[in-house]
């Protein structure tokens, strides 16, 4: 569902709030408890799988509700056989709820900083990743797999062939859209995984008729921005956030080192960037050295630059008004307000480089950077989340994969999954 529909189809949702009026017949169970409340506070035994439970319910064609700020973002699902069975198999805590209890809950939602958002249709999810990317090197892929949410993998060929039109939601992880192989080219020279990455990217650029990888990646970045402009939902993490914007703003400016495109980076690149083309950032200073694996001063933590590297702290989620700012409220639903930070090639976003239109969802109080941001572009929206893996704060190349069954309550991963369900929501006019 595109954002424009999402905005204007909203009011009809109110009618759906009463189950007897709108829910499919099989929901009207003859049992005493026709509903299942999926608590998302500390009573929940598996927060991450709860999102999958809601997603699969939507996929079966039933409608659900997301109670924003009620019990840390509880879901209301029909107490049908399939949902009950699914919850039992997934080990997700559900609370049978009768009509009287539901009326009481709605009363609380009405009276507090809460809201009830109908969830209508499961989004069609695409994950942008090269064909050889191991599934454990991308937090979103791991979260989707663990929660049991369907997705398809796409890469440059599909993006440039306009296949993005067939998806609602697109995720980018640590892709380097400046085409410089994460600036690992010199420091990891000879490493087999790097040779493979370089060869695949060069082959892709050749097959698409581009003179270099940076040129091809820039075209991909533009196609992704167009996807958002047409109403798509974009979620990016790690270095994909920063490099996507750099690639978009570098229209006609050489920001790639000579090893990537055969010509050195323009020494005046920072001054020539066209920031009006970028989604989130402006006025950033680009890193000119090809040997320092840092792109610009957009990232506050600079993890790969020993003399600039900043220590990890914690980030706090903002509280938004659920009735006025439902989108931002959806994106920060969590059972924890303060979350330990985690590194990525891009860990955070310096405040000075944020455009004024950006909504900050989470920040490290007192620090010159923020962690989690959101904004609109054309008819669509984008959300950027810094860092690589919320449960592997010091993630290193070659680390063992994160096993999410050991982190079923991960608040960082919940933020990722909020983004996946957010396009399923149908809501009234957005104020954010």
């Amino acid at each position: 569902m595109k954002r424009r529909e999402f905005v204007f189809r909203g009011c009809a949702g109110l009618a759906a709030l009463h189950p007897a009026l709108a829910w499919p017949g099989r929901w009207r169970s003859s049992t005493a408890s026709p509903w299942l409340l999926v608590p998302m506070d500390d009573a929940q035994t598996d927060h991450l799988k709860a999102y999958g439970l809601a997603y699969r319910a939507l996929k079966r064609g039933v409608r659900a509700e997301w109670f924003l700020n009620y019990r840390s973002g509880a879901f209301l699902l029909p107490s049908d056989t399939a949902t009950s069975r699914d919850a039992a198999l997934a080990g997700v805590t559900v609370e049978p709820t009768d009509e009287g209890q539901l009326v009481e809950i709605r009363g609380q939602v009405q009276g507090g900083n809460m809201d009830a958002v109908p969830l209508e249709k499961p989004p069609k999810v695409a994950v942008y990743a090269p064909p050889n990317a191991p599934p454990w090197d991308d937090a979103v892929t791991m979260a989707l797999n663990y929660a049991g949410i369907d997705f398809e993998k796409i890469w440059d060929g599909e993006v440039l062939a306009q296949k993005l039109r067939t998806y609602d939601w697109l995720h980018l992880h640590h892709e380097d859209f400046t085409g410089q192989y994460s600036k690992f080219f010199l420091n990891y020279a000879g490493a087999p995984w790097l040779l493979d990455m370089v060869e695949r990217n060069r082959a892709m650029a050749r097959s698409q008729g581009f003179p270099s990888v940076p040129a091809e990646k820039q075209a991909v970045a533009v196609a992704i921005a167009n996807f958002v402009e047409r109403g798509g939902f974009l979620f990016a993490m790690c270095t994909a956030t920063e490099t996507l914007d750099l690639a978009l703003a570098a229209d006609g400016v050489d920001i790639a080192a000579s090893y990537a495109d055969g010509t050195p980076m323009d020494p005046n690149a920072s001054a020539k960037m066209k920031w009006n083309r970028a989604l989130a950032f402006h006025n950033a200073q680009l890193e000119l050295s090809p040997t320092i694996p840092v792109y610009s001063d957009i990232d506050g933590h600079q993890v790969n630059s020993p003399d600039r590297r900043q220590p990890l702290g914690s980030f706090s989620l903002f509280n938004f008004s659920a009735k006025i700012d439902p989108v931002a409220t959806m994106l920060v639903q969590n059972h924890r307000q303060v979350i330990p930070d985690f590194y990525g090639l891009t860990t955070s976003f310096t405040r000075k480089t944020l455009k004024s239109s950006v909504t900050v969802l989470a920040e490290e109080p007192g620090a010159p950077w923020v962690k989690y941001i959101h904004g609109e572009h054309g008819q669509g929206t984008w959300t950027f989340f810094g860092g690589h893996d919320p449960e592997d704060p010091q993630h290193q190349i070659g680390d063992a994969p994160t096993d999410l069954s050991l982190h079923p309550h991960s608040p960082g991963y919940r933020l990722i999954l909020n983004n996946v369900l957010f396009p399923a929501a149908k809501k009234k006019e957005l104020k954010t």
Partner: protein, 576 residues
């Protein structure tokens, strides 16, 4: 004259006072640094440097304090002043190199290193520090230039060999690393352990070439590295084969060489490694004084015994056990090892006789342990009467547990359960305790007090005849109601079938065991079935079984494990 005398005196008073104040300044700065107040520490170090610009302690302290403040750039003017004040100080040059490296000024690094080298023309340190500064900038080619220039200037082909070896390793150039390590170890033998550990990381495909290169080198250094690398890569007997002919005639030197290999072998637990350990210990014993030799022969016997080489073990023990001149610890150790060897050879009568004879010398705990091993050996030999009489005097909980086993193999279910319960869940090591708890779970649903057929089947299992045991268990299970032992016996038989590579039979038995009539057994049977299906690449079938388990037995303690398996079968958790 009097005035001059006063001047001298006042100077005499002033000098210690100034030194004392500076000493206090350093102490204060170090204290501030220790407390983590880096800004104040930096200020205090600067105060010391204002009067003594080349004070190495203050310079190093300032360097350390500025780093966490992200102000390392401030070292530049300070180090320039230090160099002007002490142009021949090695310490100042070392700090200067790091400062310019941090400031990313490669030309300055090179020039300061060259200047330092002119001051200390026979010293490797300037080039070593230059290389380290380049490495800090992640500039490996620059580091190589520094080391090679040092080698050329010093005119020593082995200069900076260890540094060049490490550099070659970082580049994955193992042949070059080996060449450099050989130079380094020949010069400083203490590098050998590092050389072996780092070269040991070489990928499998590079190892044969490295061993060939080593074989071409004629000296003992190369032989020792070759032997230790072979041991590191899992060929302990090959290690011994190359080292033995190269052992020096000098006894002390030979002992040092053998001990080096022994240290390497002690970390390995394979049978081959134990055999090699035995041979090295024997060679050491041949070169050692009598008392030490006895201890080494005992150790060699234990190693041979662990390797299954009973003949060599007995050869080592020959005489040691009966040697009245040997220290008591050695003779009792030898006696105990001899009993173990005899048990492992199946010479139980002789082992029992030796054990009885050794009772006065072997410590009580060790004696009890040997007696229990002997009981288990009698059981495995099928002589339950001898086992019974050997354990009769043992009133410990471990003895009770053994007694329970003998009852069980005789088919006395009631007696076995009573003794297992009395022994409790913690007696023996973890494997024994778990096995005993498993046996109790198997026996408790049985209604009969006596089941000789079950005893015989479990004895066959203990004796290693899994095929007969499984057939007997399956037959007995068919005669018992599922809820009264039938399901448990099918589950055990299913596990045995799976373990012996008969998945179809295992699946059949586990499906029979997974009956609702035995709700205590069915979840375990379904979980075992799912694991079998996953290992046989049938994840779809495993999903069905696991879903059935979770939905049918939601209160079972195995449900969390089943959910985890379900995720695994669906590919939702990464394989580690």
């Amino acid at each position: 004259m009097r005035v001059f005398g006063r001047y001298i005196m006042s100077l005499g008073l002033l000098v210690p006072a100034t030194l004392g104040a500076q000493q206090q300044g350093i102490t204060r700065a170090l204290d501030l640094e220790r407390r983590g107040d880096y800004a104040a520490a930096a200020q205090a170090y600067r105060a010391v440097l204002s009067t003594r610009p080349a004070d190495a302690t203050a310079l190093l302290g300032l360097e350390r304090s500025l780093l966490p403040l992200n102000r390392s750039g401030e070292m530049l003017p300070v180090i320039r002043a230090a160099l002007a004040a002490a142009p021949t100080s090695s310490a100042v040059h070392g700090i200067a190199l790091r400062t310019w490296a941090a400031a990313d000024q490669p030309d300055s690094i090179r020039s300061i290193a060259e200047r330092w080298a002119r001051i200390a023309p026979t010293d490797e340190t300037p080039y070593r520090e230059w290389g380290a500064a380049e490495l800090a900038r992640q500039n490996r080619p620059g580091a190589r230039v520094a080391y090679l220039r040092g080698r050329a200037r010093l005119g020593r082909p082995d200069a900076l060999a260890a540094e060049l070896a490490q550099l070659a390793l970082a580049d994955g150039d193992y042949p070059a690393a080996l060449r450099e390590w050989l130079l380094a170890v020949r010069k400083l033998p203490g590098y050998r352990a590092t050389a072996v550990t780092t070269l040991g990381q070489a990928p499998e495909r590079a190892r044969a070439d490295l061993l060939r290169s080593l074989a071409d080198e004629p000296d003992l250094t190369a032989r020792r590295i070759e032997a230790e690398l072979r041991a590191y890569w899992g060929d302990p007997l090959g290690a011994l084969r190359v080292l033995t002919p190269a052992l020096p005639a000098d006894r002390t030197q030979a002992i040092a060489v053998l001990r080096g290999l022994l240290d390497q072998l002690r970390g390995l637990q394979t049978s081959e490694a134990k055999q090699a350990q035995g041979r090295v210990l024997e060679a050491l014993a041949d070169r050692s004084p009598a008392l030490q030799a006895s201890r080494l022969r005992l150790e060699a016997a234990q190693a041979y015994s662990a390797a299954g080489d009973r003949g060599s073990a007995r050869r080592m023990l020959g005489g040691l056990a009966d040697d009245r001149a040997a220290p008591p610890a050695i003779s009792s150790g030898a006696a105990a090892t001899l009993v173990e060897v005899l048990i492992s050879e199946g010479r139980l009568e002789e082992a029992q006789k030796r054990l009885a004879e050794s009772r006065p010398t072997v410590p009580a705990d060790e004696y009890d342990l040997l007696r229990r091993r002997l009981v288990m050996a009698w059981i495995r030999a099928g002589d339950l009467a001898r086992a019974d009489s050997a354990v009769a005097a043992d009133s410990s909980v471990a003895g009770l547990a053994l007694n329970g086993r003998i009852r069980l193999y005789r088919g006395d279910i009631k007696g076995a359960v009573e003794r297992f319960k009395a022994a409790g869940p913690y007696t023996g090591d973890r494997v024994e305790a778990t096995q005993r708890t498993g046996l109790l779970a198997l026996l408790q649903p049985l209604e009969a007090d006596s089941l000789p057929e079950l005893g015989r089947a479990l004895l066959q299992l203990e004796q290693g005849d899994t095929a007969q045991a499984t057939a007997a268990l399956e037959h007995l299970a068919s005669q018992l109601p599922p809820s009264h032992g039938g399901a448990e016996l099918n589950l055990l038989a299913g596990h045995l079938m799976a373990a012996t590579g008969r998945p179809a039979d295992a699946e059949r038995l586990l499906r029979v065991a997974a009956t609702r009539e035995a709700p205590g057994t069915a979840p375990a049977a379904e979980l075992a079935l799912a694991e079998l299906l996953i290992s046989n690449r049938r994840p779809g079938d495993a999903v069905d079984v696991l879903e059935h388990l979770i939905l049918t037995y939601p209160q079972s303690a195995l449900v969390p494990q089943a959910r985890r398996k379900l995720d695994e079968a669906r590919g939702a958790v990464p394989k580690t």
